[in-house]
Protein backbone atom coordinates (compact mmCIF):
# COMPACT_ATOMS: atom_id res chain seq x y z
CA UNK A 1 0.00 0.00 0.00
CA UNK A 2 2.74 2.41 1.05
CA UNK A 3 4.83 1.46 -1.97
CA UNK A 4 2.14 2.45 -4.49
CA UNK A 5 1.41 5.72 -2.68
CA UNK A 6 5.14 6.49 -2.61
CA UNK A 7 5.47 5.69 -6.30
CA UNK A 8 2.55 7.96 -7.20
CA UNK A 9 4.02 10.81 -5.18
CA UNK A 10 7.43 10.25 -6.71
CA UNK A 11 5.94 10.85 -10.15
CA UNK A 12 4.52 14.18 -8.97
CA UNK A 13 7.56 15.41 -7.07
CA UNK A 14 10.56 13.84 -8.78
CA UNK A 15 11.73 17.08 -10.44
CA UNK A 16 11.60 18.92 -7.11
CA UNK A 17 13.38 16.05 -5.36
CA UNK A 18 16.16 15.87 -7.95
CA UNK A 19 16.69 19.63 -8.06
CA UNK A 20 16.56 19.84 -4.25
CA UNK A 21 19.13 17.08 -3.90
CA UNK A 22 21.47 18.72 -6.39
CA UNK A 23 21.04 22.10 -4.71
CA UNK A 24 21.49 20.58 -1.26
CA UNK A 25 24.69 18.86 -2.35
CA UNK A 26 26.06 21.91 -4.12
CA UNK A 27 25.33 24.46 -1.40
CA UNK A 28 28.00 23.45 1.18
CA UNK A 29 30.59 22.89 -1.55
CA UNK A 30 29.92 26.26 -3.14
CA UNK A 31 30.04 27.99 0.23
CA UNK A 32 33.51 26.58 0.95
CA UNK A 33 34.77 27.22 -2.57
CA UNK A 34 33.70 30.81 -2.25
CA UNK A 35 35.62 31.02 0.96
CA UNK A 36 38.81 29.55 -0.47
CA UNK A 37 38.76 31.40 -3.76
CA UNK A 38 40.47 34.35 -2.22
CA UNK A 39 43.81 35.07 -4.03
CA UNK A 40 45.79 34.88 -0.82
CA UNK A 41 44.14 31.42 -0.22
CA UNK A 42 44.50 31.99 3.47
CA UNK A 43 41.41 33.88 4.62
CA UNK A 44 41.34 35.17 8.09
CA UNK A 45 38.92 33.41 10.41
CA UNK A 46 36.58 36.37 10.64
CA UNK A 47 36.33 36.79 6.87
CA UNK A 48 35.71 33.11 6.35
CA UNK A 49 32.97 33.03 8.99
CA UNK A 50 31.34 36.03 7.35
CA UNK A 51 31.31 34.31 3.96
CA UNK A 52 30.02 31.04 5.44
CA UNK A 53 27.30 32.93 7.30
CA UNK A 54 26.12 34.67 4.15
CA UNK A 55 25.83 31.33 2.37
CA UNK A 56 24.09 29.92 5.43
CA UNK A 57 21.00 32.00 4.67
CA UNK A 58 20.29 29.69 1.76
CA UNK A 59 19.86 26.54 3.86
CA UNK A 60 16.56 27.52 5.56
CA UNK A 61 15.36 29.02 2.28
CA UNK A 62 16.11 25.73 0.51
CA UNK A 63 14.46 23.73 3.30
CA UNK A 64 11.32 25.90 3.18
CA UNK A 65 11.12 25.78 -0.61
CA UNK A 66 11.60 22.02 -0.90
CA UNK A 67 9.23 21.38 2.02
CA UNK A 68 6.62 23.57 0.37
CA UNK A 69 6.92 22.03 -3.09
CA UNK A 70 6.98 18.43 -1.89
CA UNK A 71 3.96 19.11 0.35
CA UNK A 72 2.04 20.58 -2.60
CA UNK A 73 3.03 17.63 -4.79
CA UNK A 74 1.94 15.24 -2.04
CA UNK A 75 -1.67 16.40 -2.19
CA UNK A 76 -1.72 17.28 -5.87
CA UNK A 77 -3.24 14.02 -7.17
CA UNK A 78 -6.00 14.21 -4.57
CA UNK A 79 -6.77 17.84 -5.33
CA UNK A 80 -6.95 16.98 -9.02
CA UNK A 81 -9.45 14.21 -8.32
CA UNK A 82 -11.38 16.34 -5.79
CA UNK A 83 -10.41 13.84 -3.09
CA UNK A 84 -12.96 11.35 -4.41
CA UNK A 85 -10.38 8.57 -4.74
CA UNK A 86 -9.01 9.13 -1.24
CA UNK A 87 -12.45 9.19 0.32
CA UNK A 88 -13.67 6.10 -1.50
CA UNK A 89 -10.69 3.88 -0.66
CA UNK A 90 -11.35 1.20 1.94
CA UNK A 91 -9.18 2.54 4.74
CA UNK A 92 -9.65 5.07 7.52
CA UNK A 93 -8.95 8.64 6.52
CA UNK A 94 -6.28 9.13 9.18
CA UNK A 95 -4.42 6.18 7.74
CA UNK A 96 -4.57 7.56 4.23
CA UNK A 97 -3.23 10.91 5.48
CA UNK A 98 -0.42 9.10 7.28
CA UNK A 99 0.45 7.19 4.12
CA UNK A 100 0.64 10.41 2.15
CA UNK A 101 2.63 12.15 4.88
CA UNK A 102 5.11 9.30 5.26
CA UNK A 103 5.60 9.01 1.50
CA UNK A 104 6.37 12.73 1.32
CA UNK A 105 8.85 12.40 4.19
CA UNK A 106 10.64 9.60 2.37
CA UNK A 107 10.91 11.82 -0.69
CA UNK A 108 12.71 14.45 1.42
CA UNK A 109 15.47 12.01 2.31
CA UNK A 110 17.49 12.47 -0.91
CA UNK A 111 17.71 16.22 -0.31
CA UNK A 112 18.75 15.64 3.31
CA UNK A 113 21.39 13.18 2.17
CA UNK A 114 22.49 15.63 -0.52
CA UNK A 115 23.20 18.28 2.11
CA UNK A 116 25.00 15.76 4.30
CA UNK A 117 27.15 14.49 1.43
CA UNK A 118 27.91 18.01 0.23
CA UNK A 119 28.78 19.16 3.76
CA UNK A 120 31.06 16.18 4.41
CA UNK A 121 32.80 16.64 1.06
CA UNK A 122 33.18 20.39 1.59
CA UNK A 123 34.55 19.81 5.09
CA UNK A 124 37.07 17.31 3.80
CA UNK A 125 38.36 19.64 1.12
CA UNK A 126 38.34 22.97 2.97
CA UNK A 127 41.51 24.57 4.27
CA UNK A 128 40.65 26.20 7.58
CA UNK A 129 42.42 28.90 9.55
CA UNK A 130 43.49 27.89 13.04
CA UNK A 131 40.68 27.89 15.59
CA UNK A 132 37.88 26.98 13.18
CA UNK A 133 36.17 23.64 12.76
CA UNK A 134 33.65 22.08 10.41
CA UNK A 135 30.27 20.77 11.55
CA UNK A 136 28.87 18.85 8.57
CA UNK A 137 26.69 16.43 10.54
CA UNK A 138 25.23 19.14 12.76
CA UNK A 139 24.43 21.24 9.71
CA UNK A 140 22.83 18.27 7.92
CA UNK A 141 20.76 17.31 10.96
CA UNK A 142 19.58 20.86 11.38
CA UNK A 143 18.70 21.04 7.70
CA UNK A 144 16.81 17.74 7.96
CA UNK A 145 14.81 19.03 10.92
CA UNK A 146 14.03 22.31 9.17
CA UNK A 147 12.98 20.44 6.04
CA UNK A 148 10.76 18.16 8.10
CA UNK A 149 9.13 21.10 9.90
CA UNK A 150 8.55 23.00 6.67
CA UNK A 151 7.09 19.92 5.03
CA UNK A 152 4.80 19.19 8.00
CA UNK A 153 3.47 22.75 8.12
CA UNK A 154 2.86 22.95 4.39
CA UNK A 155 1.44 19.42 4.30
CA UNK A 156 -1.21 20.43 6.82
CA UNK A 157 -2.03 23.61 4.93
CA UNK A 158 -2.10 21.89 1.54
CA UNK A 159 -4.65 19.41 2.81
CA UNK A 160 -7.32 22.12 2.57
CA UNK A 161 -8.97 23.33 -0.61
CA UNK A 162 -6.67 24.64 -3.27
CA UNK A 163 -7.87 28.19 -2.81
CA UNK A 164 -7.50 28.19 0.96
CA UNK A 165 -4.13 26.53 0.76
CA UNK A 166 -2.96 28.97 -1.89
CA UNK A 167 -3.90 31.99 0.21
CA UNK A 168 -2.33 30.67 3.43
CA UNK A 169 0.76 29.36 1.70
CA UNK A 170 1.28 32.60 -0.15
CA UNK A 171 1.08 34.66 3.03
CA UNK A 172 3.24 32.35 5.11
CA UNK A 173 5.78 31.82 2.36
CA UNK A 174 6.16 35.52 1.75
CA UNK A 175 6.47 36.33 5.45
CA UNK A 176 9.04 33.60 6.05
CA UNK A 177 11.17 34.51 3.07
CA UNK A 178 11.11 38.22 3.83
CA UNK A 179 11.80 37.64 7.48
CA UNK A 180 14.64 35.19 6.93
CA UNK A 181 16.30 37.34 4.30
CA UNK A 182 15.89 40.46 6.39
CA UNK A 183 17.21 38.68 9.47
CA UNK A 184 20.26 37.45 7.61
CA UNK A 185 20.90 40.86 6.08
CA UNK A 186 20.65 42.52 9.47
CA UNK A 187 17.71 44.72 8.48
CA UNK A 188 15.39 45.83 11.25
CA UNK A 189 12.05 44.58 9.99
CA UNK A 190 9.09 44.16 12.27
CA UNK A 191 6.45 42.58 10.06
CA UNK A 192 4.96 40.20 12.51
CA UNK A 193 6.69 40.78 15.78
CA UNK A 194 4.14 39.20 18.13
CA UNK A 195 3.58 36.23 15.88
CA UNK A 196 7.25 35.96 15.24
CA UNK A 197 7.98 35.85 18.96
CA UNK A 198 5.71 32.88 19.37
CA UNK A 199 6.47 31.06 16.15
CA UNK A 200 10.05 31.90 15.25
CA UNK A 201 11.70 32.15 18.68
CA UNK A 202 12.63 29.09 20.68
CA UNK A 203 10.64 26.95 21.48
CA UNK A 204 8.42 28.06 18.59
CA UNK A 205 7.86 25.53 15.80
CA UNK A 206 9.81 27.57 13.24
CA UNK A 207 12.71 28.52 15.49
CA UNK A 208 14.89 26.11 13.61
CA UNK A 209 14.82 28.37 10.57
CA UNK A 210 16.36 31.31 12.38
CA UNK A 211 19.88 31.93 13.67
CA UNK A 212 23.20 31.04 12.12
CA UNK A 213 23.56 28.12 9.74
CA UNK A 214 27.30 27.48 9.87
CA UNK A 215 29.18 24.68 8.18
CA UNK A 216 32.37 26.20 9.60
CA UNK A 217 32.47 27.82 13.01
CA UNK A 218 34.69 28.31 16.00
Amino acid sequence: MFRVVLYGQWKWSRIVVILGTVAGFALPILSVQGASSDPTSAMKAGELLSVIQSWGVLYPVLAAAIGLLVAIATWAPDHRGRHVLALSLPLPRWRYVLLRFAAGLVLLVPTMLGVLAGAVLASATATLPPGLETYPVALAVRFALALGVAYAVFFAISAGTTRTAGIILGIIGAVIVVQVVASAAGIELDLTNPVQAVVMNWPGPLAIFTGRWMLIDV
Partner: protein, 303 residues
Protein backbone atom coordinates in the same frame (compact mmCIF):
# COMPACT_ATOMS: atom_id res chain seq x y z
CA UNK B 1 -31.78 -11.16 3.25
CA UNK B 2 -30.63 -7.61 3.93
CA UNK B 3 -30.94 -4.95 1.30
CA UNK B 4 -27.83 -3.74 -0.47
CA UNK B 5 -28.67 -0.15 0.45
CA UNK B 6 -31.20 1.15 2.96
CA UNK B 7 -31.72 4.84 3.56
CA UNK B 8 -34.18 6.16 6.13
CA UNK B 9 -35.29 9.75 6.66
CA UNK B 10 -32.07 11.16 5.33
CA UNK B 11 -31.54 14.90 5.54
CA UNK B 12 -28.63 16.71 3.93
CA UNK B 13 -28.13 20.36 3.18
CA UNK B 14 -25.54 21.99 0.92
CA UNK B 15 -25.66 25.73 1.40
CA UNK B 16 -29.00 27.48 1.22
CA UNK B 17 -30.07 26.40 -2.23
CA UNK B 18 -29.96 22.61 -2.18
CA UNK B 19 -31.19 20.01 0.28
CA UNK B 20 -32.09 16.36 0.35
CA UNK B 21 -35.06 15.90 2.65
CA UNK B 22 -36.65 12.83 4.22
CA UNK B 23 -35.11 10.48 1.73
CA UNK B 24 -36.18 6.84 2.10
CA UNK B 25 -34.66 4.49 -0.41
CA UNK B 26 -34.09 0.73 -0.57
CA UNK B 27 -31.96 -1.16 -3.07
CA UNK B 28 -32.81 -4.89 -2.91
CA UNK B 29 -29.83 -7.23 -2.84
CA UNK B 30 -29.07 -8.60 -6.29
CA UNK B 31 -31.03 -5.92 -8.11
CA UNK B 32 -29.91 -3.43 -10.71
CA UNK B 33 -31.33 -0.20 -9.40
CA UNK B 34 -31.62 2.67 -11.84
CA UNK B 35 -31.47 6.08 -10.20
CA UNK B 36 -33.06 8.56 -12.56
CA UNK B 37 -33.31 12.29 -12.31
CA UNK B 38 -32.57 15.50 -14.14
CA UNK B 39 -29.26 17.30 -13.67
CA UNK B 40 -29.02 18.85 -10.22
CA UNK B 41 -31.75 16.65 -8.76
CA UNK B 42 -29.48 15.19 -6.07
CA UNK B 43 -28.35 11.91 -7.60
CA UNK B 44 -24.63 12.47 -7.13
CA UNK B 45 -25.14 13.87 -3.64
CA UNK B 46 -27.17 10.80 -2.68
CA UNK B 47 -24.43 8.54 -4.01
CA UNK B 48 -21.80 10.45 -2.05
CA UNK B 49 -23.90 10.10 1.07
CA UNK B 50 -24.27 6.37 0.48
CA UNK B 51 -20.51 5.97 0.17
CA UNK B 52 -19.74 8.14 3.19
CA UNK B 53 -18.08 10.88 1.14
CA UNK B 54 -20.56 13.35 2.64
CA UNK B 55 -22.12 13.43 6.10
CA UNK B 56 -25.88 13.66 6.49
CA UNK B 57 -27.51 15.98 9.03
CA UNK B 58 -30.00 13.33 10.03
CA UNK B 59 -31.19 9.88 9.07
CA UNK B 60 -29.54 6.50 8.67
CA UNK B 61 -27.73 4.77 5.83
CA UNK B 62 -26.97 1.06 5.72
CA UNK B 63 -24.86 -0.37 2.93
CA UNK B 64 -24.41 -4.15 2.63
CA UNK B 65 -25.83 -4.43 6.12
CA UNK B 66 -23.34 -2.02 7.71
CA UNK B 67 -23.99 1.51 8.96
CA UNK B 68 -22.43 4.30 6.94
CA UNK B 69 -20.25 6.26 7.33
CA UNK B 70 -19.39 4.51 10.62
CA UNK B 71 -18.13 1.35 8.92
CA UNK B 72 -16.91 3.01 5.75
CA UNK B 73 -13.58 1.17 5.37
CA UNK B 74 -15.25 -2.24 5.71
CA UNK B 75 -18.07 -1.34 3.36
CA UNK B 76 -15.93 0.38 0.75
CA UNK B 77 -13.78 -2.74 0.45
CA UNK B 78 -16.89 -4.45 -0.96
CA UNK B 79 -18.09 -1.59 -3.15
CA UNK B 80 -16.97 -0.76 -6.68
CA UNK B 81 -17.44 2.92 -7.40
CA UNK B 82 -17.38 4.74 -10.71
CA UNK B 83 -17.78 8.48 -10.11
CA UNK B 84 -19.22 10.98 -12.53
CA UNK B 85 -15.86 12.69 -13.16
CA UNK B 86 -12.49 10.97 -13.60
CA UNK B 87 -10.85 10.94 -10.18
CA UNK B 88 -7.67 8.98 -10.77
CA UNK B 89 -4.07 10.18 -10.75
CA UNK B 90 -3.45 11.51 -14.29
CA UNK B 91 0.30 10.88 -14.13
CA UNK B 92 -0.01 7.13 -13.58
CA UNK B 93 -0.31 4.79 -16.55
CA UNK B 94 -3.25 2.44 -16.82
CA UNK B 95 -1.10 -0.41 -15.55
CA UNK B 96 0.20 1.64 -12.61
CA UNK B 97 -3.34 2.72 -11.80
CA UNK B 98 -4.36 -0.94 -11.67
CA UNK B 99 -1.43 -1.73 -9.37
CA UNK B 100 -2.39 1.18 -7.13
CA UNK B 101 -5.93 -0.11 -6.85
CA UNK B 102 -4.81 -3.69 -6.32
CA UNK B 103 -2.85 -2.62 -3.24
CA UNK B 104 -5.99 -1.42 -1.50
CA UNK B 105 -8.46 -4.20 -2.38
CA UNK B 106 -7.80 -7.72 -1.09
CA UNK B 107 -10.42 -9.15 -3.47
CA UNK B 108 -8.69 -7.73 -6.57
CA UNK B 109 -8.75 -10.21 -9.45
CA UNK B 110 -5.62 -9.57 -11.52
CA UNK B 111 -6.43 -12.16 -14.19
CA UNK B 112 -9.82 -10.72 -14.83
CA UNK B 113 -8.42 -7.19 -14.81
CA UNK B 114 -6.04 -8.29 -17.56
CA UNK B 115 -8.89 -9.77 -19.57
CA UNK B 116 -10.95 -6.60 -19.18
CA UNK B 117 -7.94 -4.58 -20.29
CA UNK B 118 -7.90 -6.54 -23.55
CA UNK B 119 -11.69 -6.51 -23.90
CA UNK B 120 -11.74 -2.74 -23.53
CA UNK B 121 -8.76 -2.43 -25.88
CA UNK B 122 -6.78 -0.25 -23.45
CA UNK B 123 -3.05 0.41 -23.68
CA UNK B 124 -1.62 -0.40 -20.23
CA UNK B 125 1.33 1.96 -20.73
CA UNK B 126 -0.75 5.02 -21.58
CA UNK B 127 -1.00 7.70 -18.84
CA UNK B 128 -4.52 7.99 -17.48
CA UNK B 129 -4.52 11.76 -17.92
CA UNK B 130 -3.92 11.44 -21.66
CA UNK B 131 -6.71 8.96 -22.34
CA UNK B 132 -9.87 9.97 -24.17
CA UNK B 133 -13.08 10.40 -22.19
CA UNK B 134 -14.33 7.00 -23.30
CA UNK B 135 -11.07 5.29 -22.37
CA UNK B 136 -11.10 6.93 -18.95
CA UNK B 137 -14.62 5.63 -18.45
CA UNK B 138 -13.47 2.14 -19.40
CA UNK B 139 -10.54 2.27 -16.97
CA UNK B 140 -12.80 3.35 -14.13
CA UNK B 141 -15.26 0.57 -14.93
CA UNK B 142 -12.40 -1.93 -15.16
CA UNK B 143 -11.12 -0.92 -11.72
CA UNK B 144 -14.57 -1.15 -10.18
CA UNK B 145 -15.24 -4.60 -11.66
CA UNK B 146 -11.82 -6.14 -11.06
CA UNK B 147 -12.10 -5.66 -7.32
CA UNK B 148 -14.99 -8.16 -7.36
CA UNK B 149 -17.44 -5.99 -5.44
CA UNK B 150 -20.73 -7.06 -3.88
CA UNK B 151 -22.19 -3.68 -4.78
CA UNK B 152 -21.41 -1.45 -7.73
CA UNK B 153 -22.23 2.23 -7.39
CA UNK B 154 -22.05 3.95 -10.74
CA UNK B 155 -22.63 7.67 -11.07
CA UNK B 156 -23.56 8.40 -14.67
CA UNK B 157 -20.80 6.07 -15.88
CA UNK B 158 -21.62 6.41 -19.56
CA UNK B 159 -22.48 10.10 -19.67
CA UNK B 160 -21.04 11.70 -22.79
CA UNK B 161 -19.64 8.46 -24.17
CA UNK B 162 -20.25 7.21 -27.68
CA UNK B 163 -22.65 4.29 -28.16
CA UNK B 164 -19.89 1.74 -28.85
CA UNK B 165 -18.01 2.52 -25.64
CA UNK B 166 -21.29 2.62 -23.73
CA UNK B 167 -22.26 -0.79 -24.97
CA UNK B 168 -18.82 -2.27 -24.14
CA UNK B 169 -19.00 -0.94 -20.59
CA UNK B 170 -22.56 -1.97 -19.92
CA UNK B 171 -22.11 -5.45 -21.34
CA UNK B 172 -19.06 -5.98 -19.09
CA UNK B 173 -21.18 -4.79 -16.18
CA UNK B 174 -24.06 -7.10 -17.01
CA UNK B 175 -21.70 -10.04 -17.48
CA UNK B 176 -20.29 -9.46 -14.01
CA UNK B 177 -23.67 -9.06 -12.36
CA UNK B 178 -25.07 -12.16 -14.05
CA UNK B 179 -22.08 -14.25 -12.95
CA UNK B 180 -21.69 -12.96 -9.41
CA UNK B 181 -25.13 -11.78 -8.39
CA UNK B 182 -23.83 -8.38 -7.31
CA UNK B 183 -26.15 -5.46 -6.71
CA UNK B 184 -25.87 -2.36 -8.87
CA UNK B 185 -26.89 1.18 -8.08
CA UNK B 186 -26.57 3.19 -11.27
CA UNK B 187 -27.53 6.81 -11.73
CA UNK B 188 -28.24 8.35 -15.09
CA UNK B 189 -30.42 10.77 -16.91
CA UNK B 190 -30.27 8.53 -19.98
CA UNK B 191 -33.64 6.90 -19.53
CA UNK B 192 -33.40 4.35 -22.33
CA UNK B 193 -30.09 3.08 -21.04
CA UNK B 194 -31.61 2.24 -17.68
CA UNK B 195 -34.78 0.86 -19.24
CA UNK B 196 -32.82 -1.95 -20.88
CA UNK B 197 -30.90 -3.15 -17.85
CA UNK B 198 -32.56 -2.17 -14.57
CA UNK B 199 -35.09 -4.13 -12.56
CA UNK B 200 -35.77 -1.36 -10.05
CA UNK B 201 -36.13 2.33 -10.64
CA UNK B 202 -36.00 5.38 -8.39
CA UNK B 203 -36.63 8.91 -9.59
CA UNK B 204 -35.16 11.95 -7.87
CA UNK B 205 -36.10 15.56 -8.39
CA UNK B 206 -35.14 18.60 -6.40
CA UNK B 207 -33.62 16.57 -3.59
CA UNK B 208 -36.62 14.29 -3.12
CA UNK B 209 -37.44 10.77 -4.18
CA UNK B 210 -40.39 11.11 -6.53
CA UNK B 211 -40.89 7.44 -7.24
CA UNK B 212 -39.38 4.07 -6.28
CA UNK B 213 -40.64 0.77 -7.67
CA UNK B 214 -39.83 -2.29 -9.82
CA UNK B 215 -39.10 -1.37 -13.41
CA UNK B 216 -41.88 -3.54 -14.81
CA UNK B 217 -44.39 -1.80 -12.60
CA UNK B 218 -43.04 1.54 -13.69
CA UNK B 219 -43.09 0.72 -17.38
CA UNK B 220 -46.37 -1.11 -17.50
CA UNK B 221 -49.59 0.55 -16.77
CA UNK B 222 -48.66 4.17 -17.38
CA UNK B 223 -51.22 5.43 -19.87
CA UNK B 224 -52.35 8.73 -21.25
CA UNK B 225 -56.13 8.82 -21.61
CA UNK B 226 -58.23 11.26 -23.56
CA UNK B 227 -61.47 11.48 -21.56
CA UNK B 228 -64.63 13.25 -22.60
CA UNK B 229 -67.10 14.51 -19.99
CA UNK B 230 -64.51 13.65 -17.32
CA UNK B 231 -65.86 13.17 -13.77
CA UNK B 232 -64.74 15.73 -11.20
CA UNK B 233 -63.95 13.19 -8.51
CA UNK B 234 -61.57 10.36 -9.38
CA UNK B 235 -61.05 9.21 -5.82
CA UNK B 236 -62.85 5.89 -6.33
CA UNK B 237 -61.01 5.03 -9.56
CA UNK B 238 -59.37 1.56 -9.68
CA UNK B 239 -56.21 3.20 -11.08
CA UNK B 240 -53.99 6.02 -9.84
CA UNK B 241 -54.46 9.39 -11.47
CA UNK B 242 -51.08 11.07 -11.75
CA UNK B 243 -52.21 14.17 -13.60
CA UNK B 244 -55.17 15.60 -15.44
CA UNK B 245 -55.22 18.52 -17.86
CA UNK B 246 -58.29 20.19 -19.32
CA UNK B 247 -58.19 20.35 -23.13
CA UNK B 248 -61.40 22.20 -23.67
CA UNK B 249 -64.89 22.40 -22.32
CA UNK B 250 -65.64 18.69 -22.50
CA UNK B 251 -62.36 16.88 -22.74
CA UNK B 252 -59.41 16.16 -20.44
CA UNK B 253 -56.08 14.36 -20.74
CA UNK B 254 -55.38 12.02 -17.83
CA UNK B 255 -52.11 10.41 -16.92
CA UNK B 256 -52.82 7.20 -15.02
CA UNK B 257 -50.96 4.30 -13.47
CA UNK B 258 -52.17 0.75 -12.89
CA UNK B 259 -54.37 0.77 -15.94
CA UNK B 260 -55.86 -2.50 -17.11
CA UNK B 261 -58.19 -3.35 -19.94
CA UNK B 262 -61.78 -3.18 -18.88
CA UNK B 263 -61.30 -0.14 -16.70
CA UNK B 264 -63.11 2.00 -19.26
CA UNK B 265 -66.26 0.73 -17.54
CA UNK B 266 -65.46 2.94 -14.57
CA UNK B 267 -65.81 5.99 -16.87
CA UNK B 268 -68.95 4.62 -18.52
CA UNK B 269 -70.62 4.36 -15.11
CA UNK B 270 -70.01 8.09 -14.55
CA UNK B 271 -71.31 9.42 -17.84
CA UNK B 272 -67.78 9.83 -19.21
CA UNK B 273 -66.02 7.98 -21.98
CA UNK B 274 -62.44 7.24 -22.93
CA UNK B 275 -61.70 8.45 -26.45
CA UNK B 276 -58.14 7.14 -26.70
CA UNK B 277 -55.53 5.24 -24.67
CA UNK B 278 -51.85 5.83 -25.35
CA UNK B 279 -49.02 3.67 -23.94
CA UNK B 280 -46.08 5.64 -22.56
CA UNK B 281 -42.51 4.40 -22.67
CA UNK B 282 -40.15 4.92 -19.74
CA UNK B 283 -38.95 8.29 -20.96
CA UNK B 284 -42.47 9.62 -21.43
CA UNK B 285 -43.41 8.20 -18.05
CA UNK B 286 -40.36 9.81 -16.47
CA UNK B 287 -41.12 13.21 -17.97
CA UNK B 288 -44.77 13.06 -16.97
CA UNK B 289 -43.80 11.93 -13.51
CA UNK B 290 -41.51 14.90 -13.00
CA UNK B 291 -44.10 17.26 -14.37
CA UNK B 292 -46.65 15.89 -11.94
CA UNK B 293 -44.24 16.04 -9.02
CA UNK B 294 -43.36 19.65 -9.70
CA UNK B 295 -47.05 20.59 -9.71
CA UNK B 296 -47.73 18.76 -6.43
CA UNK B 297 -48.31 21.20 -3.54
CA UNK B 298 -45.56 20.04 -1.20
CA UNK B 299 -43.39 18.02 -3.53
CA UNK B 300 -44.90 14.80 -2.14
CA UNK B 301 -43.97 11.43 -3.53
CA UNK B 302 -46.42 10.96 -6.34
CA UNK B 303 -46.31 7.21 -6.82
Amino acid sequence: MTNAVEIHELDYRAGKSFAIQDLDLTVPTGSIYGFLGPNGSGKTTTIRLILGLLRARAGTIQVLGEPMPLRAPTVLARVGFVPEQPHLDPTLTVCETMRFREAFYPTWDGDWAGRLLRTFDLDPNHPFGKLSKGQKGKVMMLLALAQRPDLLVLDEPTDGLDPVVRRDMLSALIDYVSQHGASVFISSHLVHELERMCDWIGVMDNGRLVSHMPMEQFKNGIKRLLVSEAPTDAGSAPFAVLARDRNGAASETWLVRGWESGMTAWFDGRGASVQSIVDLDLEDGFVELLRTFRRAPHGQEVL
